[in-house]
Symmetry: C2
Subunit: 243 residues, 2 copies
């Protein structure tokens, strides 16, 4: 089993008991730069809340600001103000998990099949963002997380649009990151049997931008840039396997 | 805003209040075939549990059996018996969410940026799988979910390996599916301004299998088949955008 630890600087993560990685310790990553790299690469977060006494997990778009107003930076999630889970999670403890799947691990036994991945778990109080300036900025960041530099090309959000959108902020302080990379950690006797083991790299790629029926003019450069960066032959993201 | 509803047969989903889609109703999908198609395409589940009073969301490999022993079929998750969350979720209510990201929606305003995705939310009591035959079968299904037909090529799991692995089963009965596809649902005045709108399709693709340092012989056909099926130029999965 191969463990990859990124060491590209930044202040260390300080996980508490509830975010401490208790399994597969060799896969835990403790520098904040690894957290930031993962959050920069991934596009979807899974938000866990407790609703009516049971857990509820929903996918959401997000953005993050290492210099945000919360301790060690801010993770922003947005949704409709009418969404039950967003209302339920205001001022409650939430868990935001962001996972990037990097590959399938092909072992020589069922037991040693695995996946290569990076996964961050962030736990904290959800702070409803009410300040209009912070809300506007957070929503622009969510757009720019999907499509870098796009928000600057768009008209300002209307008061009605801002009022219809709820934004939650979670501190990046209480966080942990796990990573797995490489091939299987097979049993010596299975290796000795002389069969094949390894892994299949996986990656999210973009196709060509698809215009809607009302589209006029050329594809904007920010959209083209995003599609090219994520094209099958494009530059790799900061995946462990790509370093 | 474009809504895609699959209608490929199967008994309808019967969501309860806690799995009823309350936002974006036009995106709710109510046939069980859409749930099965999503579960077949995706590779990672996010399991939400309540641990020490707060939500915890962790990524996990999974498999599903539409003919499994639980009502409307069974979703299987596996992990180490030492994993805190697996122990915590035995006989507790859990939420398993499976999300497939299908694209980035490029709106003509920040408000109408979105993502194309399919997401299933399954809520139910987690049943620890203790029967050795069911456990062995579930673990084979998890391997085959990653790499179809692979488990039949592997040696049997040892008693030690089975004992070291915990498997949770969750009924697929209480489930909901949301889907979004297509371009943005822009405001008429933004469309009238005559700019570009549309979407960028996204897809998970595989690279060539990477042998580990002990690998001998040819890449097994099941591994090659998986990599080819997920190759950038390979056949599309059952994504709404691909139909």
């Amino acid at each position: 089993m191969t463990s990859t630890s990124t060491s590209t600087g930044g202040s260390p993560l300080s996980p508490t008991a509830r975010t401490t990685v208790t399994r597969g310790r060799n896969r835990a990553v403790v520098d904040r730069a690894a957290l930031h790299a993962l959050l920069a690469d991934a596009l979807v977060a899974h938000l866990g809340v407790v609703l009516d006494g049971h857990p509820l997990v929903l996918s959401a778009a997000y953005a993050f600001d290492p210099a945000g107003p919360d301790r060690d930076g801010t993770l922003y999630l947005h949704g409709s103000v009418a969404a039950r889970w967003l209302r339920a999670s205001g001022a409650a403890t939430v868990c935001v998990t962001v996972t990037q799947l990097d590959g399938l691990v092909v072992g020589r036994s069922a037991f040693h099949h695995s996946m290569n991945y990076r996964s961050a778990v962030v736990i904290g109080l959800a702070r409803p963002v009410v300040d209009p300036a912070e809300k506007d900025r957070a929503l622009a960041m969510v757009v720019d997380h999907m499509l870098p530099e796009r928000s600057a090309t768009l008209r300002a959000s209307t008061r009605k649009e801002l009022a219809a959108t709820a934004v939650l902020a979670v501190s990046l302080h209480e966080a942990s990151v796990k990573e797995r990379a490489g091939g299987p950690g097979d049993e010596p006797e299975d290796v000795a049997a002389g069969t094949w083991g390894g892994h299949i790299p996986l990656r999210v790629v973009a196709g060509a931008p698809v215009p809607d029926e009302d589209a006029r003019g050329a594809v904007p450069p920010d959209v083209t840039a995003r599609a090219v960066r994520m094209a099958p032959g494009g530059p790799a993201a900061s995946r462990p396997g790509a370093r």
